[in-house]
């Protein structure tokens, strides 16, 4: 069982918006503004999409945005495109003894 809880799957049509949630505790997501999101296409390495809850690395489309409220972080993808179909993982810093935890992953299907 993963430390962070994500929905198993979400879906949306091209052009629509989808939001993926990531629920943790006050010891990880709620305790630090160090939530990151990763996109993984089948057979590929994960790619950083969001760091520090809301920061978008260079080259990541502004259709991707992150937020956090309490112990739940969210990744929103607006203007869905076919190439957004992938697995998405959240991650959080969890303190000086646990360090880093991941969510179980969410499969995004673009209908």
């Amino acid at each position: 069982q993963s430390a962070l809880t994500q929905p198993h799957s979400v879906s949306g049509s091209p052009g629509q918006s989808v939001t993926i949630s990531c629920t943790g505790t006050s010891s990880d997501v709620g305790g630090y503004n160090y939530v990151s999101w990763y996109q993984q296409h089948p057979g590929k390495a994960p790619k950083l999409m969001i760091s520090d809850v809301t920061e978008r690395p260079s080259g990541v489309p502004d259709r991707f945005s992150g937020s956090k409220s309490g112990n739940t972080a969210s990744l929103t993808i607006s203007g869905l495109q076919a190439e957004d179909e992938a697995n998405y993982y959240c991650s959080s810093y969890a303190g000086r003894y646990t360090f880093v935890v991941f969510g179980g992953g969410t499969k995004l299907t673009v209908l």
């Binding site: 993982y89 991650s91 991941f102």
Partner: protein, 121 residues
């Protein structure tokens, strides 16, 4: 260009030992943390541990403490993950990942291509 290039796929038998590598380029090896992340077949990501090559400060997830050893060689800009006695349950893809920090802004900004380790009798 930042690159993390991992060693090739391995097929091993249970109880054998193994050391896989991650050679970096395009940045100063001793300024960053290098972590290892496991992905078992059709499963999610699991953070295993990390090393700071400048002083070899190494931290492990409780789940992997004692099960693997993380090391680094500054002379060849390479991090390693090793097992002394493999089990079938170690079958997975292993990724090395660059982290800028382990106390602030904790995220993996560059990933290796992954090394598939298959353990089977």
């Amino acid at each position: 260009e930042v690159q993390l290039v991992q060693s090739g796929a391995e097929v091993k038998k249970p109880e054998e030992s193994l050391k896989i590598s991650c050679q970096v380029s395009g940045f100063t090896f001793t300024d960053y943390w290098i972590a290892w992340v496991r992905q078992m077949p059709e499963k999610g990501l699991e953070w295993m541990g990390t090393i700071y090559p400048r002083d070899s400060d190494t931290r492990y997830s409780q789940s992997f403490q004692g099960q693997v050893t993380i090391s680094a060689d500054k002379s060849v800009n390479t991090a390693y993950l090793q097992w002394s006695s493999l089990k079938a349950s170690d079958t997975a893809i292993y990724y090395c990942v660059r982290y800028v920090s382990m106390v602030r802004g904790v995220y993996g900004d560059f990933w290796g291509q992954g090394t598939l380790v298959t353990v089977s009798s």
